[in-house]
Symmetry: C2
Subunit: 152 residues, 2 copies
Amino acid sequence: MDFRLETFLPYRLNQAAELVSQRFAAQYRARYRMTRPEWRALAALGSYGRMTATEIGANSSMHKTKVSRAVRALEEKRWLKRSEDAADRRIEHLDLTPAGRRIYGEMIALAHEYEQELARLLGADGLEQLEAGLATIEAALAVQPARRGPSD
Amino acid sequence: MDFRLETFLPYRLNQAAELVSQRFAAQYRARYRMTRPEWRALAALGSYGRMTATEIGANSSMHKTKVSRAVRALEEKRWLKRSEDAADRRIEHLDLTPAGRRIYGEMIALAHEYEQELARLLGADGLEQLEAGLATIEAALAVQPARRGPSD
DNA sequence: GTCAGGTGGTTACAGATGTAACTGTCCATT
DNA sequence: AATGGACAGTTACATCTGTAACCACCTGAC
């Protein structure tokens, strides 16, 4: 019976992620009334330019319904606009409006500041080691292609 | 404009936490129809014995409504029972039933296996470095005591 | 051409969550 | 004894989320 939740890696990772995210989220929630899915979609569009909803989902690991709702919210804020694809009418291309790009610029400035604060906290080595750990996890546990066996 | 969500620490931490948690959560969801708050409450009670709902919340960083609901769910599963405090009738003491302890035992076996799997994945050094990073984050960002100034 | 199956995206629904308000209880002050 | 916080725990409500079903459209096999 030597188990302690406080030392269980999944729990600790969640705690750390919560702590780190919440503090940043507090900024965009308060300043721009943005949710996390909206921030992620904005960030994706801001850094890559025109994308489709599916691409945003792939880039920021969001479920397609989350993307759909985030896109609508950003559209209502007039921070992005949709345009139809000439060749395939299922597809919508999404672009930030000038207002959206302005917010994006402000947000990445905040993001950089925050990253620097975290870097100071962790130290250069600490940050590097933490990121190495995260990379290992990502590589090892990332969504594996579906197993196909004789039975399906 | 050199910002990429994929390299933003809060995002990466969330991703890693999701990956690591989901895989473990899949087990208790499938085997025992347990939610994460229920698993956390079970784990707290299993490792510390009799606790109150407030103590569970403090130990496992859960909002009191989450604890309240998890406790009810575990009670309905007959894995815990409540008993009133003789001296203070606001308080409920919570104990696992024998059935609850059995499930707890099975769960910590799974937890240990999973920890070992993660340890193999990360290597002894990697694990240590990752945990050091998490500890720094916890220490630096943990809920600070409320600031008290002249104005409040 | 047509039709089956797949894809991009939305939505109805059910479950999970946090905020705020609530109940019941305790305790310190009077 | 009475009363005004403070605290343990629950609940109503609004919001967010994922699942599954759905629509519109595309494509390849025939």
